[in-house]
């Protein structure tokens, strides 16, 4: 009975996909707010069905919790047979619960956030398409179906980042995300090619046995290529810059795609393909270090960003780094646990940030915020809970998940990633405390009078920064002289589009504090459809730890995921005392971060142009603010040698050698044909001679060879 029910798991992705189809076709006609309610309703229905699937799965005995339902035969080529099937097991069920659950909350929130947007229907169409693709990704029974979803979420990410495509910075950011993701996708493709060549199968069901029988070199190659794919999708070093630029999209998009779901696809892929990583061993070490370094470096970069969403973006990269760290030390459950709690607190933080931005006339510059708790009380409560959660303070959800990762890192015996992770915990607590203090506490800096006369900058680093402000970063603001929209009355354009194409909400590190857009009215709290999701997610960020408390009998997630990771020895503390000491250490590191940030930002900013942390860190400050100049370096490289190489490849290799070769063959055949055409001149007697000569030649051949 339960197994029969699980055969209908395909309904989960089907519901949002139906929503996407309906809204793409009729979205404009349906309009606001019905389009949003349709999408939200279908998403909610998908969540309910996911719960049914969860129940069905629970009713099965533990060793039978895996069910493949084949819909149809997808591909059949020679030895390769790929079914279009869905795999329901604890791992995929966890993910569909997450995607549909957090997804419906964010859909609900979007109804409020996207209010007044002329393309309301299109927004929800893309969001539904995204959710459907993500669900296909996690439910696929083979690498190929996962890849289909993988590409689908990449596409939707592009569409949604560049949703306000009249805005140059948004259009550029969308393209950047797409291209960077494509780099990772190449890894996925090559990994699949190797899988086909080596095992002739892309199915997950045979993967475990295949990995067992494969040589170490093959396993390592597959694992590392899948890691490349995961790095692209989950914005790890070196493919991370797209995620911060993705903040150009509407905030619910940032919450849904770039915090809660899509970016965790990389974690999912590694967890799904863990037999290859386990068989390789070396690949695991690489995963751990990629994750650890990303957690640390992205955490550092988040410390000084003035833009509320960019802090959260770097924070997301950093937290994903933690998940990779967990995967790398073999603590798959800890990674999944982190995915879940991260979706709660980061979803809450992003939705809260959206509420701050919305209630503050599209201003994302934290330097001109302050003391918002008075005006946005519910958002302040929600985000404060999420802050403590992400910082790793007990008993919030983030503490349990982060602690289990750090604990596993220590217990794996490889102390390097553990220490890196602890340092990153200081940063995490630091940047998040700074964000909360600058936004909700301290002094009020959003009154028009105060921002108009900023004191001159005192920090040494800011002068040369201004020169690089218009540097190659994709977020560089649009040059007004080259903008064709300039000739039209800006107010008209804004009415038609629903936004001002020249206004870039993203605040870069080098920008001086912006002038407030509030006028003389106060910031205001968001409507109820936005507050409810924020508080729901905050509640989950508070109690989410109950899923997996490291006490005998309360480790529900461990038990639930055990069938998926059967045969893998996950690190686990030997004794309660050992676990307790490790927990105390990680809490201590978090408290250090919070204390430092509180000392610096408790009173807010005396001067909006000067950041106390930046003033005290000397040359380190700008380096962190520029994210180690990685983006600038990448842009300079692409502009210089990159462009040169591309031009060389285009003009010399492609146009001359490849095109020349192809055209040359065509020319040769054409000339040959023109020559041969002369033979057919229409004189019957000449044809007769041809026939005669042919017969004679045949006879001679027969006499000479065959008759002998």
């Amino acid at each position: 009975m339960a197994r029969d029910l699980l055969d209908f798991v395909g309904i989960v992705p089907l519901l949002p996909l139906i929503g996407a189809a309906v809204l793409l076709l009729f979205g404009k006609r349906i309009g606001e707010p019905v389009a949003g309610w349709i999408a939200t309703g279908l998403m909610g229905a998908a969540f309910v069905w996911s719960l049914v699937m969860f129940g069905a799965m629970l009713s099965l005995p533990e060793d039978a919790r895996s069910n493949v339902s084949v819909t149809f035969k997808w591909l059949h080529v020679d030895q390769l047979d790929v079914q279009f099937g869905f795999l329901a097991d604890p791992l995929s069920i966890t993910w569909i619960l997450l995607v549909t659950g957090v997804g419906s909350l964010i859909f609900l929130y979007s109804i409020g956030y996207m209010h007044g947007d002329p393309n309301f229907g299109r927004f929800f169409a893309y969001m539904s398409l995204f959710a459907g693709s993500m669900l296909l990704l996690v439910l696929g029974s083979s690498f190929l179906l996962t890849f289909l979803g993988w590409e689908g979420v990449g596409l939707c990410s592009y569409l949604l980042i560049a949703y306000w495509f009249e805005r140059n910075s948004a259009a550029v950011a969308g393209k950047k995300a797409f291209v960077m993701n494509r780099v990772g996708d190449v890894g996925f493709l090559i990994a699949m090619f190797i899988l086909i060549a080596e095992f002739g199968s892309l199915d997950y069901s045979t993967m475990g046995a295949n990995a067992m029988g494969a040589s170490k070199a093959v396993s390592t190659a597959i694992a590392l290529l899948l890691l490349v794919a995961a790095i692209g999708k989950s914005a790890q070093i070196p493919l991370f810059p797209w995620l911060t630029d993705a903040m150009e999209g509407p905030t619910p998009v940032s919450a849904l795609i770039h915090a809660a779901t899509m970016v965790t696809a990389g974690v999912f892929l590694i967890a799904r393909a863990h037999p290859f990583f386990e068989a390789s061993g070396d690949a695991m070490t690489v995963v751990a270090w990629v994750g650890g370094l990303t957690a640390l470096l992205a955490g550092g970069a988040a410390l000084l960003q003035p833009d509320i969403k960019r802090v959260l973006a770097y924070s997301t990269i950093s937290q994903l780094g933690y998940m990779f760290l967990a995967l790398g030390v073999g603590a798959y459950t800890a990674a999944v646990f982190m995915v879940l709690t991260h979706a709660f607190f980061k979803g809450c933080l992003f939705l809260g940030a959206g509420s701050v931005i919305e209630g503050n006339e599209e201003n994302q510059d934290m330097r001109i915020m302050g003391r918002f708790r008075k005006f946005l009380p519910y958002t302040a409560i929600g985000m404060s809970i999420a802050w403590l959660s992400i910082s790793g303070i007990p008993p919030f959800a983030g503490f349990w998940s982060k602690d289990s990762i750090l604990e596993s890192a220590y217990l794996s015996g490889d102390y390097g990633p553990w220490i890196v992770g602890l340092l990153a915990a200081i940063f995490t607590a630091g940047y998040m405390t700074r964000l909360i203090q600058l936004t909700f506490y301290g002094n009020e800096r959003f009154r028009p009078g105060e921002a108009e006369h900023p004191a001159p900058a005192v920090s040494g680093g800011s002068d040369d920064d201004a020169a690089t402000a218009q540097g190659a970063g994709a977020t560089a603001t649009l040059d007004p002289e080259t903008d064709p929209a300039d000739a039209i009355d800006p107010a008209d354009t804004e009415d038609a589009l629903g936004y001002d194409p020249d206004f870039s909400p993203t605040v870069s590190f080098v920008e001086p504090p912006r002038t407030t857009r509030l006028g003389d009215h106060d910031p205001r709290e968001a409507p109820i459809v936005m507050v409810v999701p924020i508080l729901t997610l905050a509640f989950l960020a508070l109690v989410g730890g109950l899923m997996n408390i490291p006490i005998e009998g309360l480790e529900f997630l461990d038990e639930w995921l055990a069938p998926v990771f059967a045969g893998v020895q996950q690190p686990h503390p030997e004794s309660f005392a050992q676990g307790f000491v490790l927990e105390a250490i990680s809490v201590a590191f978090a408290l250090v971060g919070i204390t430092i940030a509180l000392l610096l930002y408790r009173r807010g900013l005396r001067n909006a142009a000067a950041d106390p942390l930046r003033d005290r860190t000397g040359p380190v400050g700008p380096t962190l603010g520029h994210a180690y100049y990685y983006d600038e370096g990448l842009a300079a490289f692409t502009d210089g040698p990159g462009t040169k190489t591309a031009v060389f490849l285009d003009e010399t290799v492609d146009q001359r050698i490849i095109d020349g070769g192809v055209n040359g063959i065509a020319k040769l055949i054409r000339q040959g044909g023109l020559g041969l055409r002369k033979l057919q001149d229409g004189y019957v007697r000449r044809y007769a001679i041809g026939i005669l000569l042919g017969v004679v030649a045949l006879l001679l051949f027969l006499v000479a060879y065959v008759a002998r």
């Binding site: 001149d681 229409g682 004189y683 019957v684 007697r685 007769a688 001679i689 005669l692």
Partner: protein
């Protein structure tokens, strides 16, 4: 009249030489003449040269298969004559006389 002076035995090679000569005449006729009727007759000559070969071999090898084949050839030749003459008549009606080279107009 002694029969010994007339000891001229007719061997199959006589027939074959004759057939080869006829075939060559026919082939050359097809190649060098431009009159379609004459070319047509030359083709007939070639066919009959082949028939002669068949019969000669049938007799020499004491195998009737060759004679049977001759019937086939005759049948095909009759059909060919019917079709070929019809074409020639059709062309004649259109063009009031022709040579084989006139068929060049069909080249397109």
């Amino acid at each position: 009249m002694s029969s010994s002076s007339l000891a001229l035995t007719i061997t199959p090679s006589y027939y074959l030489v004759l057939a080869a000569a006829l075939f060559t005449i026919g082939a050359v006729g097809v190649l060098v003449r431009r009159n379609v009727i004459v070319m047509f007759m030359s083709v007939e000559l070639m066919l009959n040269a082949v028939n002669l070969t068949f019969v000669a071999f049938a007799s020499a090898l004491d195998d009737t298969a060759g004679q049977v084949l001759v019937f086939f050839t005759l049948t095909v030749a009759a059909a060919e004559v019917a079709v070929g003459l019809a074409i020639i008549v059709a062309i004649f009606r259109r063009r009031r006389g022709m040579t084989a080279d006139d068929l060049k107009v069909l080249q397109g």
